[in-house]
C-alpha cells in the first residue's frame, strides 16, 4: 500500500504545508503580505536543496520503512551494508508520487547520488541504475551540507595513501594517477609532509577491522568523487557565482580527519586516533602554497565561486545582516502607507477575468508563435533560408496574415514598417499625418549622436510645435505645451524633451485615428487582397540539415 505523499517534497499543488527553512507558508494563507520572513545568511547556496535531500536520505535509512539494507555475499567475500539500485528505485516510486515513470525515480536517485549522499560501491560514477548494482550510504560526516572545502593538499594525502595500501582494488584510476602526478609537481617542495600524513593514515587504516575498513574506504572514495569528480561527470560542488556573495563569512568548513568519520567508532577510540593524527597535522604554509598555486579553474578549487565571493563580500553585503530590520523612520512609514493606500484605491481585477484575458491573448497570437504554428514561409533555422527575415523587411508584398496582425493594436501597426506605411497613407487622406510624422521624428531624436541633439530638438520644435510658426502643428494641451517649450528653450534640451508630447499624440492616434484606420476601406481591401507573396509551400525538411545532435 503506497505511503502518503511527503508534504515537504510534494510541490505539485499550491497547497504546500511548510517549506524546509522554516519560512511562512505560501499563498493561500493570510500572512504578512509585503513582508517576507527574515533572510538567512551564511548558508550554503544549496542549503535548501541539501535539506530536502537529507530528509529523503533519512527516510531511506529508516529501519522499518526504508530501503532494505543487507550484507551481501559476493564470490570472494562479504559486502557489508549495501542496497541495490532496483530496491532503491522501487522504494522511491512507492514512497513518493513520482509521476510518469521509472526514469523519474532513477534521475531523482542519481541526483541525490551526485551530491554524495550514497554511492555505488564500485567505480567512480555517481549515478544510479535500476538493477542489482550495490550502493552504500554516505556517512553524515561527509554530507555536503557540512560545507566541505577540501584542499588539494588533502587530496594529495588521500591519493598518496591509496598508493601505499597496496591493494588491487585500491589502485588509482587513470585520472587519479594524473591528478597525483600533477599534485606532486605542485607540492614538490613540501612533499614529505604529505607523505608523512599519508603514511600515518595508512598505518591507522591497516589496524582497522576489515569490514569496517571496506565501508570507510568506500565512503572516503565517494567523498572525493564529489569534490574531485571523474572527468565527464558533473561537478556538483560548483557554486553559482551569483550566489557566492552569500558566503560572506567563512562557512564552518571542515578540515578533516579522514580517519575518524563520525558515528562509526566508539568515543574513546575516537579520541585516541584523533591525537595520533593531530600530531602530524598539515602545517599551515603548505596550505597557503596550495591556494596560491590553484588556478581559477573550477575543477581545482573545492568551491568554484568561493574566491570571488569572498573578494567582493565588501561590496555585496546588504545593509541588513540577517535580522528582520527596518529603520522605521516615520518618513518611510508615511511613504509605505501612501503606497498601500494608492494600491487600495486601484481596483483589483477578478482572476477569472484575468484568465480570460490571458487566454484570449495567447489564442490571438497563436498563429504568430513559431513554436506553436510553423513560421511562414519557413523557419530560417530549420530550412536554412532567410526568406522569413527578408519578407519582414519587405514593405511591398505582404501576406494576409501580416495584415491581420495590424488589427490587434496600434503597436503592431507601428512596429511593422509596412503597417506604418499604410497607416501613413491613411492619415494623409485624413489630413492628420503630422501626428505620425511627429511621432517618428521624436523616435529619431533618440538615435542621433550627442552633438546633433540640440539641433534636432530645435528642428522638431520649429516644425511641429512652435505656436507661431510651426509648419505642421500637432495638437497638444497647453500644460504639455508649456512644459515642452520650457525645455526646448532652456539650457539643456535633451532626447526626452518631447516625451510627454509624444505620449499625448500616441494616445490620440490610438483612440482616434487608429480605430478608423482599421475600419477603413483601405484596410479592408488589404485584408481581402490575395496573397502576393511567392509560393508559400512551407519548406519542411524531413531531415534536418544541421550537423548538430538532436535531443
Amino acid at each position: 500500500m503506497p505511503l502518503p505523499p511527503v508534504a515537504e517534497i510534494n510541490n505539485g499543488s499550491s497547497k504546500r504545508i511548510s517549506s524546509d527553512n522554516g519560512t511562512t507558508p505560501t499563498t493561500g494563507t493570510a500572512s504578512m503580505l509585503d513582508t517576507t520572513p527574515p533572510l538567512q545568511e551564511n548558508v550554503h547556496p544549496n542549503h535548501a536543496l541539501f535539506k530536502k535531500m537529507e530528509l529523503l536520505v533519512e527516510r531511506m535509512q529508516d529501519e522499518k520503512e526504508g530501503v532494505p539494507i543487507k550484507n551481501a555475499k559476493s564470490f570472494m567475500s562479504k559486502v557489508p551494508s549495501v542496497f541495490t539500485g532496483a530496491d532503491l528505485v522501487q522504494w522511491l516510486m512507492k514512497t513518493y508520487d513520482v509521476d510518469e515513470s521509472v526514469s523519474e525515480a532513477v534521475s531523482l536517485a542519481s541526483l541525490t547520488a551526485a551530491h554524495g549522499y550514497f554511492f555505488p560501491i564500485d567505480g567512480h560514477n555517481l549515478t544510479v541504475t535500476n538493477d542489482g548494482t550495490f550502493y552504500r550510504f554516505q556517512t553524515p560526516y561527509f554530507w555536503p551540507s557540512n560545507c566541505w572545502e577540501p584542499e588539494n593538499t588533502d587530496y594529495a594525502v588521500y591519493l598518496c595513501k591509496r598508493t601505499m595500501l597496496n591493494k588491487t582494488r585500491l589502485e588509482l584510476a587513470d585520472y587519479e594517477a594524473e591528478s597525483l602526478s600533477k599534485l606532486q609537481k605542485m607540492f614538490s617542495r613540501n612533499w614529505e609532509f604529505i607523505f608523512m600524513q599519508a603514511e600515518a593514515q595508512a598505518k591507522v587504516d591497516r589496524k582497522r577491522d576489515k569490514m569496517e575498513r571496506k565501508i570507510l574506504d568506500s565512503q572516503e572514495r565517494a567523498f572525493w568523487d564529489v569534490h574531485r569528480p571523474m572527468p565527464g561527470s558533473v561537478n556538483t560542488t560548483e557554486i553559482d557565482i551569483r550566489k557566492s556573495c552569500k558566503l560572506h563569512k567563512p562557512l564552518k568548513t571542515r578540515k578533516a580527519n579522514y580517519n575518524v568519520p563520525g558515528g562509526r567508532l566508539s568515543p574513546s577510540l575516537l579520541n585516541k586516533k584523533n591525537s595520533l593524527v593531530n600530531g602530524q597535522a598539515s602545517s599551515p604554509h603548505t596550505t597557503t602554497t596550495a591556494t596560491a598555486d590553484d588556478s581559477n579553474n573550477n575543477q581545482d578549487t573545492g568551491s568554484g565561486g568561493g574566491a570571488p565571493g569572498k573578494k567582493t563580500s565588501v561590496s555585496g553585503s546588504p545593509p541588513m545582516s540577517g535580522v528582520d530590520l527596518a529603520a522605521s523612520s516615520s518618513e518611510d512609514l508615511h511613504q509605505m502607507r501612501d503606497l498601500l493606500k494608492h494600491r487600495l484605491n486601484k481596483s483589483h481585477v477578478k482572476m477569472s477575468k484575468v484568465a480570460d484575458f490571458l487566454i484570449q491573448s495567447c489564442e490571438q497570437y497563436k498563429e504568430y508563435d513559431p513554436m506553436l504554428t510553423p513560421a511562414e514561409p519557413s523557419n530560417p533555422w530549420i530550412s536554412e533560408e532567410t526568406t522569413f527575415w527578408d519578407l519582414e523587411k519587405n514593405t511591398k508584398d505582404y501576406s494576409t496574415r501580416r495584415v491581420k496582425r495590424w488589427a490587434f493594436s496600434i503597436d503592431e501597426v507601428l512596429r511593422d514598417p509596412a503597417g506604418k506605411e499604410q497607416f501613413a497613407k491613411f492619415l494623409a487622406k485624413e489630413y492628420s499625418i503630422e501626428n505620425l510624422n511627429f511621432y517618428n521624428q521624436v523616435h529619431e531624436l533618440k538615435k542621433v549622436s550627442e552633438k546633433e541633439v540640440v539641433e534636432k530638438v530645435k528642428a522638431i520644435w520649429a516644425e511641429f510645435l512652435d505656436p507661431n510658426s510651426a509648419l505642421s502643428p500637432v495638437n497638444i494641451d497647453s500644460k504639455c505645451m508649456d512644459k515642452t517649450r520650457k525645455e526646448t528653450q532652456g539650457p539643456n534640451p535633451g532626447r526626452h524633451t518631447f516625451d510627454d508630447a509624444r505620449d499625448h499624440i500616441y494616445k490620440l492616434m490610438r483612440s482616434d485615428s487608429y480605430p478608423r484606420f482599421i475600419k477603413s476601406e483601405q484596410y479592408r481591401e488589404l485584408i481581402a487582397a490575395k496573397r502576393k507573396t511567392r509560393s508559400l509551400m512551407p519548406i519542411r525538411l524531413s531531415t534536418s540539415t544541421s550537423p548538430t545532435n538532436t535531443s
Binding site: 493570510a30 509585503d34 546588504p318 541588513m320 527596518a326 522605521s328 509605505m336 477578478k350 497563436k366
Partner: protein, 381 residues
Amino acid sequence: MADAAPMENHHPPGTPIVTPATPAGPEATHENENNNAAVDPENEQVQELESELSKLKDKLQSEREAVCDGMLNDTATSLDNLTRVRLKTRRTLNGHAAAIYTMCWRPESHEMVSGSQDGKLLIWDTHTNNKINIITLKCPWVMSSGFAPSGNFVASGGHDNAVSIYGLKGEMLPEKPIAQLTDHNGFISSIRYIDDTQLLCSSGDNSSALWDSNCGTKLTSYEGHTAEVMGLAGSSDNTVFVSGSCDRTAKLWDVRDKVAKQTFTGHDLDINSIAFFPSDRAFVTGSDDNSCKLYDIRSDQAVATYTQLNLNYGIGAVSFSKSGRLLFVACDLDVLIWDTLKSLKVGILSGHEARVSCLGVNSDGNAVCSGSWDAKLKIWN
C-alpha cells in the same frame, strides 16, 4: 501578528545609516534613556503609523483574496491540451572556454551576445554560426549582458559592480569599454536596454537603476528590495519594469518613479529570473524553490504556479514564447517547456552537459537559445 517592520525599507548605498539598527517602538525608547522625553511623541506617531499600516495590509490582502475566484488553469480547462512540443537543437555555438552565465538577443534580430567566465563576450550571428565580435573583459566574473536595439552597443556587468558599454561599430575587436557606469555597491545581475541610450540594470546592492549610457549618468535609482536584485524585465512599451530579488519578492516599477508600485510575494526562496508576458499585463518569476509563478498586475497576485515534484535545482532562467502560451524554464541540465495556461509540462530540451544558466527567446519567436556551464550555447526550435 504584530507588524514587525515595513519591508519597503532600504537605505541608499553610500549614505551612512542614520537610524539605529534596532526595531523601533517601545524597545527603542527603553534603550534611549537620554532622549526619553523627546522621543516619546515621535514613537507614538510611529506606532500609530505602524498599526495603520498593518490594517492597510490586511485590507489589501482581503481584496486580493476577494478576487481570487480560481487559478488560471481552472479557467483554462476548456482549452485543448497542447501536443507535446518537440524542439531540436539547430545550432550549437562553440567558442567559450568556461561556464556561460549570460546571453542576450539583440531586439528584432538574430544576433546575440553571450558572456562567460573565460572573460569574453562573444557576439554571434546565430544563423550562420559566425562570431561577429569578440570582446575581452577586464573582469571575468561577468553575470549579465545587454544588446542595444541598434546593434551599436553591448553592455556587460558582473562582480566588478559596474556596467561596461562596448561600441561595436567600426572596430573589429573593441578593445576598451567606451563607458563604465560605476555607481553600484553590488554585482550587476541583469541589464536591459530600453533604447540606444538608456538602460536598466539590477544590482546586488538591492537596487536597480536607470542609466543614460551616453552621458554615463544615473537617471533614477529604484530602491525598495531588501536583498540582492537578481533580475529585471521591461514591458514592451518600456514604461514599466519588474524586478525579482533574493528577498523573495517581485516589484513593479514605473520607469519614471523611484518607488515601487506593487509588490508580489509568494516564493519561499530567492527569485532568480523574471520575464514579462508578451501582452504585458503579467509576468513570470523563476525561483530557487523550484517553482515559477505567473503574477498578474491588475489582480496583484499569482495566478498560476509551475512546479514539479522533484529535487531539482532551482530555476535559473525563464522566457516566454512569442504568444506567451509556452514558458521555457531552465532547470539544472534541462530546459523545461510549460503550457502557461494549463500549468502542464509539455516538453523538455535536453542536451547540455552542465547546468543551463541563461535562456532567451528572440523577438520574432523563431528560436530559443540556452547557455550553459558546459560552455556551449544551443539554438532550438
